[in-house]
Symmetry: C2
Subunit: 313 residues, 2 copies
């Protein structure tokens, strides 16, 4: 059966309409896992990657807010914590949903480091806002004191920004590959804990955010997946989105995708990285495909009935 | 080669003399992992279990202190976060230390749930203090509002107390067993995330602390380990500890251990659970042994030169 790496977006983990509590997350995760268990029980072999934006932001927020009572945690550690938090909920809910379908695979979360290149141009231009809002004065003080890069965020205050480098190598890939045949592995959560490789061979966590769709793409390459499936809120990628002439796309080849990107059809930080990750997979594997669709349409999309399919040509 | 489950105590993760920062933890963990890599490079097959008391306490503390800005996290989630945090540091440092010895196993952290019995008598008598200190008024309010069990803590203020039930089943055991031959697995961190099994088969996180030495013992049973090795601050277990007639113990059989316990030789919450976990292993496997020693004496202890060995008879 096809091997599929599934990338779960924020809507698979938390509802926009409810409080961002752990109980709220677990409720949404349970519904998400019903869908994933459906896919698995069709016989597809799965691995799961998930985002962590809101969660790691809140872990950092709590850590900063409490710094008078306990030392605040660096951002790489906050990412590791978010992997534990989200992975725990997914593995708990997915194992149950699988049991209910009489499918008995181990389901487990692997804490995952991903090596990024110190010379990635992203480090010269941090763009990803994280953590709390500050006044200009506080922001400048943090800049001076801790070397944070801070930017004014659309009139809402100042925020720390970190780079978003590309993932180069999944440190725990051997174990993830070993587990593939027997288990459903949840890995590379939040795009992985970003680490750089020092001259002496040590790894060192850095304050950065790897896009989870690019991390999922890298995982799909390294496990030899047949399909990279990026799940989001919409059934299909659209051009002229939200306009009267909106058009949903069934299939894009690389040439079309490039044209749409040049037209500015896909929002940076939202649909654009998903399309770019899908393109990267299609570029590297002309005989394979990437799919962007919604969770509830995933099986239909795998059967070729819906979703946006991205292929080389 | 012998299969060994190693349980790391708090001193393997954080120094008492330095600030409880992430950087401080990483520094101690790096030294710890040099020792573990030494053991592994002797050919012993290892799995690692670690404590999380101070870390999960601080995660909870930060979460509670920041509750006005972001919802506080339940205790099971704090435990999952601590597994990510500590596991990340260990897997990073241990992989490096192994590489330096030209030993190339995957090293990975598995988020681990452990089922406890709802009817465990510990639930009727919570004893384990967690999180911040409160005034009596705050404590009583939390008791009324959230159903926390609160107790006065030796004149230092009021604290929430949670039960410390025995571990019954490691949920992710199949995957941990699969990984044994190829990898060094860090699992059951902090004694595992405690969950109960509901009537409908769902698992549910509970506010409880499973002793990490008992979790390590259960893991040792389930993977068929030859040795349960509990690492702590002292080279040997002692009786009449700190007194002029202190006597270090080279070997205890179950009968002797029971006598010492009856004499009150081992401090509850400190040496007592280690000795009890060791006794449980020895009781179940009359041909195997448990060892209690310090990190730097671990290899000597495995070679029979030091440490306290606990066997059936």
């Amino acid at each position: 059966m096809p091997k599929i790496v599934v990338a779960l977006g924020g809507n698979a983990l938390q509802s926009k309409d409810s409080e961002p509590t752990a109980a709220g997350q677990l409720e949404v995760v349970k519904k998400t896992c019903e869908h994933i268990a459906d896919i698995s029980s069709q016989g597809y072999e799965l691995a799961i990657v998930h985002g962590n934006g809101p969660q790691v932001g809140r872990i950092l927020l709590a850590s900063e807010a409490a710094k008078e009572v306990t030392p605040s945690m660096p951002f790489d550690v906050c990412g590791a914590m978010s992997q534990g938090y989200i992975g725990y909920h997914i593995q708990q809910a997915l194992k149950y949903a699988m049991n209910m379908r009489n499918v008995h695979f181990p389901v487990l979360t692997v804490a995952t480091q991903i090596i990024v290149d110190k010379n990635d141009p992203a480090f010269a231009n941090p763009t990803k806002p994280i953590g709390p809002f500050y006044s200009e004065e506080e922001a400048k003080a943090l800049e001076a004191e801790k070397g944070y890069c801070v930017k004014e965020d659309a009139g809402r205050g100042w925020r720390r920004v970190v780079p978003s480098p590309l993932p180069k190598k999944i440190v725990e890939i051997d174990a993830i590959q070993d587990l593939w045949d027997s288990s459903i592995v949840i890995s590379c959560g939040g795009g992985g804990i970003p680490v750089v490789e020092n001259m002496d061979g040590t790894l060192e966590g850095v304050a950065a955010v790897i896009d989870k769709d690019f991390a999922a793409e890298l995982l799909a390459e390294e496990v030899g997946a047949d399909v990279l499936m990026i799940l989001t809120e919409v059934e299909k990628v659209a051009i002229n989105w939200g306009k009267p002439d909106q058009k949903n796309i069934d299939h894009m080849d690389l040439k079309e995708a490039v044209r749409y990107i040049e037209e500015g059809q896909f929002a940076p930080g939202s649909m654009l990285p998903k399309v770019e990750a899908a393109m990267k997979f299609a570029r590297n594997y002309p005989n394979k495909k990437a799919i962007i669709t919604s969770l509830d349409k995933a099986i239909d999309a795998l059967e070729g009935k819906t979703g946006t399919v991205i292929t080389f040509a």
